[in-house]
Symmetry: C2
Subunit: 744 residues, 2 copies
């Protein structure tokens, strides 16, 4: 049982879990069952499904509508799954912390509200009140996504955003004060001048309308329009508006960004610090359980305990890996076990993605060594590795671009086959395993694009004679053809660095993407309830006769621009409309039309959306992107080598008998990062490879990435506070990007 507990602690540290649980055997086993990946992913899928029900519910996406009992059945099913998970939680978490944990309370409340809402809805829909039945609780669905234990990163992001709010309140108040003051001034200056907008609307004749106009000006959405009547009246009024834009748009908006950046960063740092502390605490707990007193009064984990605890992990590693970890961690000099300092590195070490070196196992070498080593084969491989090969294909891609531009369909087969041959040749040279290795982004990209284009083309060709080919499929084919041109970027070093920077921070941005999506979802539900069906799009109407099925819009800018499709009639249209509002331009026209068809109170919804999503969330995302870009960009240009060296040294792998390998692999690593270029190296490497079977370390780039990125952001600062990042965290995290591999 002790080994079980220690194993649990180790896994907690490894996956960053911070839950509190009972330590009797049954609870531990329950906890383990609860933490199984399958169940976790299953729950995540059900949470997404719960959100997706929005597609089928009234107002449903056209063609997907289901009767209300069907969607409710789905919803009940999802709720049951969530309840089961909560029950599972209650089998091992102490009652006290179960009931006081705010996230559990929120989930329980959300379930209760949802169930009550469903009952009321069913009651209403079967009564005369049918028309006014609405499903209020749909808006709280994202709370599951935020509060379940499965989505730790999203919850953390939300918590940070919530903590950031109080600090921007002051700036926000001052900002509104500034707008109010400018509005008063504008109101006083223009009120008596009897000016009109081009459309005939009165100009600054009412305080709150003026306030709204100037608020919109902050977003620049009505930029010269709001100025023109005054400017036409007297050129000097331009000064008023320029002062307004400088102060409110440029200074206050940047102040928002600065304050948000500052405070968000501070909160994030606290979070990361506590995460690191948790990790350490869990590992210390595990060490306390496992330690034995070794000769020389030192406390350490013996080999036997080590094997036992590793065997007790939920997913025990293979024996070579267990030995490898032991080799890395145990104290070689004293012939002892693993001491505390080394033990604290275990979580990071286990997150290093370890595979036996499979690149040596070139399938062609294995199955037809004579052929592969023959002269024509060598010649082909040499050609593929030559730099002219790359340039030749760059040229072909350019020619392909020209052909696409001029619609020379007949060349398509030629280019497609050429590119397939290219992939096959590269695969032959590198070996398929090496070709598809984890960090080779461009190979994957290439393969997927070309293969799907090939399949689609074949299908198209075969169907073409039988029946009409659907237009969407042709569009897809066109997208694939154009995407092929992106290959050229992967062939040019300096562009590849930029693209890899973007690709590397993409997984981290995903967390913020989910945050944004949850907010969109809630706003979309509210929008559908408030504005659903008020504005309808009718295809194939001419501009003049179209009025979005609502006569109140007559003469509005919205109608003139043909925005009828920017409606809240189903969840997909709502999301697109919300994206448009996020982009900001013309948001005031969308707002105005919805306040025309409902009431002026509709402004609250749109202004709220703007404040929360555009000013708060987008600024946080910009701050995050800025920091991540700067970090990655600097890193990709300079510090890779030293970071790798540090890892090697720190893992104790640079003892004398390894030096040759280490040096060799250093060059390889750098080329693993500059993914396309190392064909030359791998060519030379192969004979060497065959002699010594190796094990490779490689970081699992997947789900840990935002954690890795965040830790890296603060490692410099946290180091100063006594965290031994240099020994414990840093090198591991640095390698996260480089797809670092080390041989032993």
């Amino acid at each position: 049982q002790n080994y079980l507990l220690a194993a649990n602690y180790i896994e907690d540290a490894r996956f960053g879990r911070t839950m509190d649980y009972n330590i009797d055997k049954e609870s531990l086993l329950n906890y383990r069952r609860y933490s199984r990946r399958l169940l976790q992913w299953g729950t995540v899928i059900f949470m997404w499904w719960l959100l997706l029900i929005g597609l089928f519910e009234d107002p449903a996406v056209p063609g997907l509508a289901l009767p209300y009992w069907a969607t409710m059945l789905m919803e009940v099913f999802c709720l049951v799954v969530i309840c089961l998970r909560m029950y599972q939680l209650s089998t091992f978490v102490p009652r006290r912390s179960l009931l006081t944990d705010p996230k559990n309370i929120v989930i329980a409340l959300t379930i209760v509200v949802t169930v009550m809402d469903m009952i009321i809805y069913i009651g209403m829909i079967n009564s005369p009140l049918k028309g006014s039945a609405i499903r209020v609780s749909r808006v709280v669905r994202p709370l599951f996504m935020i509060n379940m234990n499965e989505s730790r990163q999203v919850r953390r992001a939300f918590r940070n955003i919530r903590n950031t709010v109080p600090e921007i309140i002051n700036v926000l108040i001052l900002f509104f004060f500034s707008i109010a003051l400018f509005t008063l001034l504008a109101f006083k200056l223009f009120q008596l001048r009897d000016l009109y907008y081009r459309g005939g609307e009165p100009y600054f004749r009412n305080y709150w309308d003026s306030f709204f106009d100037l608020y919109v000006l902050v977003t620049t959405a009505n930029s010269p329009d709001v100025m023109m009547p005054a400017y036409d009246d007297s050129p000097w009024f331009a000064l008023f508006f320029i002062a307004y834009i400088v102060i409110n748009t440029y200074i206050f908006m940047n102040l928002f960004l600065a304050v948000i950046y500052n405070s968000y960063r501070a909160h994030l740092k606290t979070e990361i610090r506590s995460a690191v502390l948790w990790k350490r605490k869990k590992l210390e707990n595990a060490f306390e359980i496992l330690k034995d007193t070794m000769p020389g009064e030192k406390e350490a984990v013996t080999y036997n305990s080590w094997i036992m605890v590793m065997k007790n992990l939920t997913y025990p590693p293979s024996f070579p890996k267990i030995s490898l970890f032991w080799e890395v961690l145990h104290n070689r000099n004293a012939d002892g076990g693993i001491e505390l300092k080394q033990f604290l590195q275990l979580a990071n070490l286990m997150n290093v993605y370890v595979v036996e070196d499979q690149s040596a196992v070139n399938i062609f070498v294995k199955w037809a060594p004579e052929v592969y080593a023959s002269r024509p084969s060598k010649f082909v491989r040499k050609c593929v590795q030559h730099w002219t090969f790359v340039y030749l294909f760059d040229l072909l891609i350019l020619m392909n671009a020209v052909c696409i531009a001029f619609d020379w369909e007949s060349t398509e087969w030629f280019f497609l086959s050429i590119f397939i041959v290219e992939i096959l040749l590269r695969m032959y040279t590198l070996g398929p395993k090496e070709y598809f290795s984890f960090s080779r982004f461009w190979n994957w990209f290439d393969f997927i694009i070309i293969t799907s284009a090939f399949i689609a083309t074949v299908i198209e060709a075969s169907l073409d004679e039988l029946a009409q080919f659907p237009r969407e499929a042709l569009d897809f084919l066109m997208v694939m053809r154009c995407l092929r041109l992106v290959k050229i970027v992967g062939n040019i070093d300096r562009f590849r660095i930029i693209v890899m920077t973007i690709v590397n921070i993409a997984p981290s941005l995903l967390t913020y993407g989910i945050v944004l999506l949850m907010l969109y979802y809630a706003f979309a539900i509210v929008g559908m309830e408030c504005f659903g069906g008020k504005i309808k799009f009718t295809p194939n109407t001419t501009a003049s006769e179209n009025n979005c099925n609502n006569t109140k819009l007559e003469g509005s800018e919205f109608l003139r621009m043909g925005y009828c499709n920017n409606n809240f009639n189903d969840i997909l249209h709502s999301l697109v409309t919300l994206v448009e509002l996020t982009v900001v331009n013309q948001w005031h026209n969308i707002l105005l039309s919805y306040s025309l068809v409902t009431s002026k109170a509709a402004r609250v919804y749109f202004i709220f959306f703007h404040l929360i999503v555009v000013i708060l969330i987008m600024n946080i995302i910009v701050a995050f992107v800025l920091e991540a870009f700067i970090l990655e960009y600097q890193l990709s240009k300079t510090t890779i080598e030293t970071a790798v060296e540090k890892t090697i040294q720190q893992l104790g792998l640079n003892s004398n008998d390894h030096i040759a390998d280490v040096n060799h692999d250093k060059t390889e690593l750098i080329n693993e990062f500059d993914v396309g270029d190392n064909d030359q190296y791998s060519g030379k490497r192969e004979p060497h490879r065959k002699e010594t079977p190796k094990i490779r370390f490689r970081i699992n780039q997947g789900h840990k990435n935002i954690e890795v990125l965040l830790q890296r952001m603060f490692e410099g600062e946290l180091e100063g506070e006594g965290f031994e990042f240099a020994n414990a965290e840093e090198p591991m995290t640095l390698d996260g990007v480089t797809g670092n591999s080390v041989t032993v």
Copy 2:
């Protein structure tokens, strides 16, 4: 002569001058004459005048037009002034460095080009070619502003921007590649679908027009419009546009910001480092000249040399100040002179604004001590210092706001007199000198606003009976009345901090403001030559009959929006139009109309403007503002006290006999920063003040501020490189913000 040279070196260090000059006596005197403030400011005024000639030249601002010979006379005059300055320069700068300095070459070339252009223009205007005579050289006028020695900060900013360009080229190419690829895709997808914009223009039917539409979409200026036809055709096309916006608007634009931020910061750091090195080198040179060998083999500056060199400065300080500096710098323990380490601090010390403590000299105490100390007087002073006094006036301001909003003109005299009484009471309590002391931003603000309102109101009242009062003056009065409401911000601590942050970085932003203005000027001149007179605004036309005096615009969005005033007909209108282009919204409609009235080539001008001003310069300004805000905001919240303490200690002022004063003044300092609150303190302070006459240090906040800010930005990083900022630079610069005062 040696003292003269040393004095020159000291002043070079003090003002950050890096010029190379001959060291014979005549040259030194010439150099000194050249560096006189009067001449420098005179030159700056002439340079601005040269730019302002744009107001009077054809196409002139209506009402300001002057005949061409008058403006040319003005121009020649400015050029003569510049030539004289260049001649002055040649009297002390070695011929070699004079002729190889790029900025001198640029100025010489600019003068030659301008003169030639003027001759050609005169020739053409008196010939049959009159119509096509243009003044090409006007566009290079900002070059004087950038390259003259008087505008070091602007030149530095420009140099940094120039150095930043090569590093963003890669991202720029990739960005355009991305747009081109998306355009190809959009073109292929929509070309055959026979779609039209609402206005009837064909939709994605031509590659370059499509490219332009998508480029505009990056700026979000045509955000939903460009999507609507495709979205109406099939909702799935929204995905294409969302992908486009995410990649190009959000990711690439932020990547630009990140790369620019990164590289701009690196260049700035290099500049600051070299500036600090120059300063040190100059001071070392001065020390080399002045040093004597003291007892104990130490090299130091004796008291006599010190007095001599100080007397030789261009603006020798008063004797108490010279003694004060000596006290601060010389080695007290060894009874010796000033050693090198202390001497290197001289430049910073001299930039500390030193005044004899004038706050003790409350004029009322001086002239009527009995009255001031009498009981009613004390009661009044106590009232003014009470917190209710502040709240009472906050309330009055709010009431005033209500009265302004509802146009209760009759209350104006009441409020005006109330606020005048407030100012007088505060002045009485603090003493006028203290009231108007340098760092009391809010007092100054108060005084200026109320006084100008008072004067304007009096003038209005007296003129009202005589004649019609001009409307502009009434507007001015209204502005003053509304600005009065800003006072309330100064009374609330947490808002005051934010406003002071903005006020503190404002002078630094001025440099970037000038950079922007120079670019605007050049673009405005080009714009006037290309587009001047093509689009005219006629006041008082109805929307339907107005066509901006150009039939080519018929049916354009530009006309419908009533943008005729956004033209390039004179320099002021051009500048306003360029500001609108900087704000970005609707810039494509302005562009389209100008390409309608001229040719498609007009797009080049606008896209160039967008790339240079919006993407490059505005991003640099945003980066700078972000960094400065974060710096100031953190500083204003935390580190003031320690910074002040450090200065005090470091200046050697905390010897035992001063401790009482130091402690006393520390509380004062903090209140000096929180400007409004220290009435209580100054009340208590007065008796103490009268006993010991003191000298105050106060930083000159004026023209050095961007330098101070920049040095502070990098001090942490430069410290690590062996610069002794902790001893030499940092405390001084930190005080720049706090209006720090120290008593000795």
